[in-house]
Amino acid sequence: MKDFMMIFIGADYQELGLSPEELQGRMGKWMAWGEKMGAQGILKGGEALVPKIKRIIGKDRTVSDGPFADSKEIVGGYYIVTAEDADKVVEIAQDYPDYDLGGTVEIREVMVFDR
């Protein structure tokens, strides 16, 4: 078994102007997904990220606050799951609730270092 990170990109609820009812509906789907993964014992952790960005770039360590790219490219959060391979994670990611809002899931394997 390996660890994978599912990175959620785009679909910023704030910017999309979702109504309270829609937000509740979305949240219900996220919770159901989380519970499903929890019950299967594959969810190891994860966080949601605040959309405010600070970047430090270059040898001068220039600090800037953005806005950088399109909000479609902003990472909104991540989950870490355990699975056999990336294809299995693709299956897990079928339940990500925000594809219809233009959201993207990026799957990355967590590197394991030899001892």
Binding site: Y13, S19, P20, E21, M31, G34, G46, E47, A48
Partner: protein, 412 residues
């Protein structure tokens, strides 16, 4: 984890929080308040994903209170109130606003603000749906079949008018209450109708609109000084109609006419509630269109089968209704009832004197009635052409399907 969040919790909480905060800060901050409350839900959506709080409602209330203090900080003019809010009488005052009774009181004040005569009627409905009922601009647009831009403009105008006229977040003075209530009831009634007769095909929005109208009506009834025969009659009317809401569409989301509706599916507890509200309404002296409309709705739910419908009584109530409200829509209904009674000459006469334009989005019903009239006369070709006309006039896909089916039956 078996914790479940109550349906519509966010939407209902939105209206509550906006009302409480407005009571505290005043109407001039309404836009800031609405934004702040919206933020609370976004926060909840992200945070609750990970772990649902033991008491979601209490969590929302707590965050709303904190938001209140944040707001105070961000509003410069209110700066010195911060000190007072963390301790002293102000903090007690703020906490008290979160008591159930006060929440309801704040929401009622908001209803009266929404129906303030300085707002245009179309602005009133949009404002009420947004600020009291927590619909987004997009949802209001979908519910009222109006462009999102237009709704946004109406909301903007309403907020501007409220600030410009310095409207207070308060009830009207006692002598003006009944008159203003009149408009409040109209707004509730229109909201319900948008849901019930809506030419909208999104079923969810229809149910939500009806539910909201009933909730607001209940809120009004709780307050003794607002009660009247009209208010109880309106409540009865909404409940009678709502009892049939589920059976108005079938599993494949097609409209089911009252003739074909599965009457065992009607929601009888609601009919009971409606009946007792109807009895209550008789204890007052005032009489309104709601009384007659409720009486008509009652006749429909009373009949065990479509054939048992007492059309004569219904016609009597429609005639009374017409005396109070001589609109083309009432006339159209009179024609439809006469169709059932096979009074074909009367049908023709009534239809001929109708102003079609007044019927707006419901013109298809007029053409549909003509179609049935010709069908009964045995003039199939004319019936067919009127069904076609009716089909072309409806924007509702469910209604269209229903009419198409009738047309197909006619052709076969």
């Amino acid at each position: 984890m078996e914790k479940k969040i109550v349906d519509h919790l966010f939407r209902h909480h939105y209206g509550k929080m906006v009302a409480i905060l407005t009571r505290f800060f005043g109407l001039s901050y309404i836009e800031t308040i609405e934004d702040a409350v919206q933020d609370t839900f976004i926060k909840a959506t992200l945070q609750w994903r990970k772990q649902l709080p033991d008491n979601p409602e209490a969590w929302l209330t707590k965050v709303a209170k904190n938001r209140t203090i944040d707001l105070l900080r961000s509003i410069k003019a209110e700066k010195n109130r911060i000190e007072r809010i963390n301790s002293g009488p102000s903090s007690i005052a703020l906490n008290e606003l979160f008591l159930d009774y006060e929440i309801e009181d704040s929401q009622l004040r908001m209803i009266f603000v929404a129906c303030h005569p300085s707002l245009k009627p179309q602005e009133q409905i949009a404002f009420a749906l947004k600020t009291i009922s927590g619909f987004s601009t997009k949802e209001i647009a979908a519910a009222l079949l109006i462009k999102e831009d237009t709704i946004a403009k109406r909301l903007q105008r309403a907020r501007k008018t409220i600030v410009k006229n310095n409207i207070q977040f308060d009830f009207p003075p006692p002598h003006a209450i009944q008159e203003r209530l009149h408009r409040v009831m109209e707004v509730v009634y229109l909201t319900f109708n948008e849901g019930f007769h809506s030419t909208n095909n999104a079923e969810l929005i229809r149910e939500d609109l009806c539910g909201e109208a009933i909730r607001l009506c209940k809120l009004l009834i709780k307050k003794e000084e607002f009660r009247s025969g009209s208010l109880y009659a309106l409540f009865a009317l909404l409940c009678f109609h709502a009892s049939r809401l589920k059976s108005k569409t079938n599993e494949s989301n097609e409209i089911v006419g009252i003739r074909e509706q599965d009457r065992s599916q009607w929601h009888f507890p609601l009919i009971d509630i409606a009946n007792s509200a109807m009895n209550k309404s008789m204890e007052y002296e005032d009489l309104s269109i709601y009384h007659y409309e409720a009486a008509i709705a009652f006749e429909h739910v009373k009949a065990k089968t479509f054939e048992e419908t007492n059309w004569k009584s219904i016609l009597k109530w429609y005639t009374k209704l017409y005396e109070l409200q001589p609109t083309s829509f009432t006339s159209l209904n009179i024609a439809i009832v006469n169709l059932q009674l096979n009074e074909l000459n009367t049908v023709k006469k009534v239809l001929e004197n109708l102003k079609i334009k007044d019927l707006g989005q419901r013109q298809y019903l007029y053409f549909g009635s003509y179609a049935e009239y010709y069908l009964k006369r045995g003039e199939k070709a004319l019936a067919q052409s009127f069904y076609e006309k009716a089909i072309s006039k409806t924007s509702n896909s469910l209604e269209r399907e229903y009419l198409r089916k009738k047309l197909a039956q006619l052709k076969s």
